[in-house]
């Protein structure tokens, strides 16, 4: 059974039908990516899954339960954690405080302290700056912090919304390595990206979204070779 499955999900956003009935699924242990151009409805889909903007119709099942109309904090507490677009770290809190905040729904103090240390081992950059405020970090570091903070909640499914947005190319590479590493450690990930090539290169499967619909799906390798994908999203002429 899939960890997350969407069936005929429709979402209206600001008066327009941004998502016009899509179906997709993410199995436990998978790294799945959803690619597409700006305005294809990717972010809206993610908002609907995480409960920030409820889907008007369709079925969203997570861990065997219908979560379509659940409030977002309730979804987060069940282990479906979103790393929002634009990172959304708490800028005036220190890195340590940000990480501690990520463990808000947990009560095991010792476990939390150990997890913070584990994140620091994963991102030495963050450890160096543990007492600095998140607002002083560079974009890439903030993205690392946002991912680490989400991991503090011990998610079963991590939703990443455009983690490469606004980052320097070298940083983008780094972030994708991090995503790959997190997936290798057993966290299931649904990744939303405009950078199709990189997203497909690290993921198991992919969905291509266009105009609020899913137009293509399949193994990431085969999508990378698909002439339509190459032309439309990888900037190559067929």
């Amino acid at each position: 059974m899939s960890l997350l499955s969407l069936a005929n999900v429709q979402v209206a956003y600001g008066g327009i039908q941004a998502v016009k009935g899509i179906s997709l699924h993410v199995d436990a242990g998978e790294l799945v990516t959803l690619i597409g151009a700006n305005g294809a409805g990717k972010s809206t889909t993610l908002k609907a899954i995480s409960g920030l903007h409820h889907a008007g119709a369709g079925d969203i099942r997570y861990d065997g339960q219908d979560i379509r109309t659940l409030p977002s904090f309730e979804i987060a507490r069940r282990g479906l954690v979103l790393v929002p677009e634009g990172r959304g770290v708490f800028p005036a809190l220190t890195i340590e405080e940000n990480l501690a905040m990520g463990a808000y729904s947990r009560t095991d103090r010792d476990g939390i302290a150990a997890d913070i240390e584990e994140k620091f081992a994963l991102f030495p950059r963050l450890k160096e700056r543990a007492k600095q405020t998140a607002g002083t970090l560079s974009g890439g570091e903030q993205q690392m912090l946002a991912i680490s903070r989400a991991l503090m909640a011990k998610p079963k499914l991590l939703l990443l919304d455009e983690p490469s947005m606004g980052l320097a190319p070298i940083m983008v590479q780094k972030i994708f390595e991090v995503v790959k590493e997190v997936a290798k450690r057993g966290v299931t990930i649904l990744l939303i990206e405009q950078n199709a090539r990189l997203a497909l290169s690290i993921s198991h499967r992919g969905y291509v979204m266009d105009g609020g619909l899913i137009t293509l799906e399949g193994e990431s390798k085969s999508l990378l070779d698909d002439p339509k994908v190459r032309e439309a999203y990888l900037g190559e002429t067929a």
Binding site: L52, S72, F73, G88, V89, F90, P91, M101, S105, G135
Partner: protein, 355 residues
């Protein structure tokens, strides 16, 4: 609560402060009972500021109608302990009732404004404060509930262990005035409220408020029930306001809607901002300063002018507002996060400067 490297030194400090606080009313009484009364009102304002600090400082929700909860608490006390309805419940019953009713009003204000922030929230809360006052003013017809602008008189004083706080008590050679008794009563309440505030700030609830103040959407992504936490901030802030209001009724013995005008809300907010939003000791300092300085001016400015010029050129009240405005401007320029800023508030402002 108090940071000090040496714990022994710390306890000596605490003991000295305690002795000073116990001796304070007797010293002030030498200068006139009026000063003890002024101190009592200062404590009431500290209570109000601490309550408002929960909403504004901790949760980051700007409330310009906070005095409404003070009014609700005051009216609850007045209606349940005065000849107006012929009810004379004891204070220990009324104060919790007042806090509870104020809490309900807090939720009533909070619920419809959950999606508002900043300026928009300020406008709605301002309106709410005025609505409450206008209700108090007009609820004398068709059924006389609040007695309208005439207010409610002869409100029962607090009676505690056989002591009537309305009158002086003779203990041997010693006279303990009602005002001094109220001072100790208020001081006890204040201590409890300060302890509750520190507990709140360092609790899960306090951390949730911090997250909401910083970024509401991210807070929700952390699994924080932002709706409930914001309502809780309104409810808790309102409860403290309600308790302060009840004590105000008891001390004053008379209340009318005039005591709960917009300027009072603004004054309490100014105390919070001046002292340092989000910092409990800062807020206490702000309330003490803004309560005492105007009174000091009142007692010094007129004699000083008479001595210098032989007549009064500027009235104390006018000068008070002038200095008040000046102090606010100077503060915004040099200490925008308040006299004793909270660490996080300071960082927030520093960040905004960079942008």
């Amino acid at each position: 609560m108090i940071n000090s490297a040496n714990p022994k030194l710390k306890w000596i400090g605490v003991a000295l402060i305690a002795i000073a606080l116990v001796a304070l009313p007797f010293v002030l009484a030498q200068a006139g009972t009026a000063w003890v009364r002024i101190t009592n009102f200062a404590i009431l304002f500290i209570l109000l500021s601490l309550g408002l600090n929960i909403v504004v400082g901790f949760a980051g929700l700007l409330d310009l109608g906070y005095i409404a909860f003070y009014a609700v608490g005051a009216y609850v006390y007045a209606l349940l302990a005065s000849p107006h309805f012929g009810l004379h419940l004891p204070w220990w019953m009324i104060l919790p009732i007042g806090a509870f009713v104020a809490c309900i009003f807090g939720v009533l204000l909070g619920a419809p404004t959950l999606k508002l922030r900043g300026d928009y929230l300020a406008i709605v809360t301002l309106g709410f404060g005025e609505i409450i006052r206008i209700f108090m003013n007009n609820l004398s017809e068709p059924i006389n509930i609040t007695n309208g602008p005439k207010g409610i008189t002869t409100i029962d004083p607090v009676k505690f262990m056989g002591l009537d706080f309305g009158n002086a008590t003779r203990i041997g050679e010693f006279m303990l005035s009602g005002t001094i008794k109220y001072y100790f009563f208020l001081l006890a309440v204040l201590l409890i409220v300060i302890v509750i505030n520190f507990r709140l700030q360092n609790s899960r609830i306090g951390r949730a408020w911090e997250a909401i103040r910083e970024d509401e959407m991210a807070a929700r992504a952390m699994g924080i029930n932002t709706t409930r936490m914001k309502l809780l901030a309104f409810a808790m802030g309102a409860s403290f306001g309600g308790i302060a209001g009840g004590m105000f009724s008891a001390i004053q013995g008379f209340i009318s809607p005039e005591s709960f005008v917009l300027t009072e809300s603004v004054m309490v907010l100014a105390m919070v901002v001046l002292g340092g939003m989000g910092n409990i000791w800062g807020v206490v300092l702000g309330a003490v300063l803004l309560s005492f300085v105007p009174e000091l001016l009142r007692y010094t400015v007129t004699p000083a002018q008479n001595a210098l010029f032989g007549r009064q050129i500027i009235e104390a009240e006018v000068l008070r507002m002038l200095l008040f405005g000046l102090a606010m401007v100077v503060m915004m320029l040099y200490r925008p996060a308040g006299l004793l800023p909270s660490a996080i508030r300071q960082r927030e402002l520093a960040r905004k400067d960079e942008e």
